[in-house]
């Protein structure tokens, strides 16, 4: 269970600096939670605060009752937090197999690496020994990024806009990956997304805007209002 208690984050030290996250309190124990809302509203910042990439200026973060507010990225990763970046990182010289092996934290056989790749729809044989360099497309990198967090299999997995950088056609195939994940995970998946099909499989939808929680509830409570109101539509339809 993840708990945010009155968490705030300001960029910069000036007293008048803008609150990117403004007193957010959330308790998350559902299996599949979607964060949505307009761009620049603070969703990615919130994910980075949970992963430890940013440290809150105020408030506390607890994972299974343990205060992790000041724990490092590495410590949180070892406690069971995974984070799939919106922009996957390239590494000259490191291969797909290297990264999936590092992610899993143990020695993997080629067959095991391949099975993770197959799960995200990559033809494993072609990718296992590929370098994570500029020769891979954004969509391929995204799938590898997702395979990495799946190999970790931690109790909390954060996805920052898995649809970003992928054409709609490829993303359609990726949705099935998330649907499958939804069925078999034991922990919690928190996913930042604007995609209706992702929101559609969420147990809970949290709308973040201006650094605050604007709406929070089950899919049935939130989704109609997101898709129905013209005001929200103008923000979200661009993404759909």
């Amino acid at each position: 269970m993840l708990e945010l208690r009155n968490v705030s984050f300001r960029a910069g030290d000036e007293p008048d600096a803008k609150e990117i996250i403004n007193h957010v309190s959330l308790t998350i124990d559902q299996r599949f939670v979607a964060l949505t809302g307009p761009n620049g509203g603070g969703k990615s910042t919130l994910a980075k605060l949970i992963a430890g990439i940013y440290i809150p200026t105020e408030g506390q973060i607890l994972l299974d009752g343990i205060d992790i507010t000041n724990a490092s990225v590495t410590e949180r990763a070892r406690m069971g937090v995974s984070f799939a970046f919106q922009q996957p990182v390239r590494f000259k010289g490191l291969t797909v197999s290297d990264l999936i092996t590092l992610a899993s934290g143990r020695k993997l056989s080629v067959a095991e690496v391949c099975s993770y790749l197959s799960e995200v729809g990559l033809c494993a044989r072609e990718y296992v020994n590929r370098e994570i360099n500029a020769s891979l497309s954004g969509g391929e990198l995204k799938r590898i990024e997702i395979a990495m967090v799946m190999a970790r299999g931690t109790k909390l997995t954060l996805f920052d806009e898995p649809e970003a950088g992928i054409d709609l056609w490829s993303f359609g195939n990726l949705i099935t990956v998330f649907e499958k994940m939804h069925e078999k995970i034991n922990g919690t998946i928190m996913i930042i997304s604007h995609q209706e099909r992702i929101l559609n499989i969420a147990d809970r939808i949290i709308v973040i805007a201006d650094g605050q929680v604007r709406q929070d509830g089950t899919r049935d409570e939130i989704l109609p209002s997101l898709l129905g109101t013209p005001a929200t539509c103008s923000v979200l339809t661009g993404k759909l």
């Binding site: 590495t74 990182v89 010289g93 590092l102």
Partner: protein, 307 residues
């Protein structure tokens, strides 16, 4: 002959050999030729006018390997050696050179190897060269290799060099002249630590019609070292040339990259690339989100980069 443990370790480090192999082999130990083995197709002959050997590979020799390791374990020794390789027409061979300096003393140990390759028509060569320095002494470990390559028509050469640790100062010069349809691939890896100094220079003349080269240097400068990469590719015919310097800089290292391409022919297609930068913060963070510490992440990134 029997090798002591230091020598055995060195041989394993630089050439991946656990014992003296069967086949063509020449071992140079502390400035002296210690052992030479020729085979039916590969003849190794000592030079009479200066230190060094001539290696003759018969035309058409396929799939054979030549090892010519150099090991220095004495402090205060400067060794200069000339090795000439004559690769016969249509031969296809592997040559593994390497030099290990174990300096336990306080004086400088230096090895300067001058290697000349002559590739006959249609010959194919893979050439590996690994340089390693070690030893608890304060004496400097210096290597200044010069490689001169002449390639006849349709020949192919792949040169992989690595200097990963322990060499305090190196000046490396590689010169090549390519004939018609010849191809030269160079992959160089250098890692410098401490206050080490490394200069590497490529000078490649693309003279033949349809010849090409791809010369890549990847380096990491950690602590307080200085590295220079200078490459000059001359396109004198219809040819293609690509040179690339890619460096990771850490701590207080400094790296200079000077790629130069000169086209003297309208059908010369030449590209140079040079990139120097520190490890990207997002690369470290990505690996840390996988549970690695910052230091472990850095090691993984550097090892991959120099693989």
């Amino acid at each position: 002959m029997a090798l002591d443990n230091i020598q055995k370790n060195m041989l394993s480090e630089i050439a991946g050999l656990e014992a003296i192999p069967e086949g063509a082999f020449s071992l140079r130990l502390d400035g002296q030729s210690a052992l030479r083995q020729s085979t039916e197709n590969i003849e190794i002959v000592p030079k009479t006018d200066k230190p060094g050997i001539d290696i003759y590979i018969k035309a058409g020799t396929k799939g054979e390997r030549v090892d010519i390791p150099v090991i220095m374990t004495k402090t205060g020794l400067t060794d200069l050696v000339y090795n000439d390789f004559h690769i016969g027409e249509d031969a296809d061979v592997l040559i593994v050179a390497g030099c290990g300096i174990h300096n336990a003393g306080h004086d400088k140990s230096e090895h300067d190897g001058i290697h000349a390759f002559h590739l006959g028509r249609g010959a194919r060569l893979k050439y590996y060269e690994k340089h390693v320095g070690e030893g608890e002494g304060t004496g400097e470990r210096v290597m200044n290799p010069t490689t001169v390559i002449e390639m006849e028509a349709d020949s192919y050469m792949e040169m992989e060099t690595a200097q990963i640790k322990g060499i305090d100062s190196t000046k490396r010069l590689t010169k090549a002249t390519l004939g018609d349809n010849a191809t030269l691939i160079i992959h160089e890896k250098i890692m410098t630590h401490g206050k080490q100094f490394a200069v590497t220079e490529f000078e490649i003349d693309l003279n033949g019609e349809g010849c090409g080269t791809h010369a890549v240097s990847r380096s990491v400068a950690k602590d307080d070292p200085h590295q220079e990469f200078i490459s000059s590719i001359n396109g004198n015919n219809r040819c293609s040339g690509h040179t690339e310097c890619d460096a990771i800089i850490m701590d207080h290292g400094s790296v200079v990259a000077v790629p130069k391409v000169i086209a003297n022919h309208t059908d010369a297609s030449l590209i140079h690339e040079a990139a120097i930068g520190k490890i990207a913060g997002e690369q470290l963070i990505k690996l840390m989100t996988l549970g690695l510490t910052e230091q472990e992440a850095e090691e993984q990134i550097v090892n991959g980069f120099l693989r």
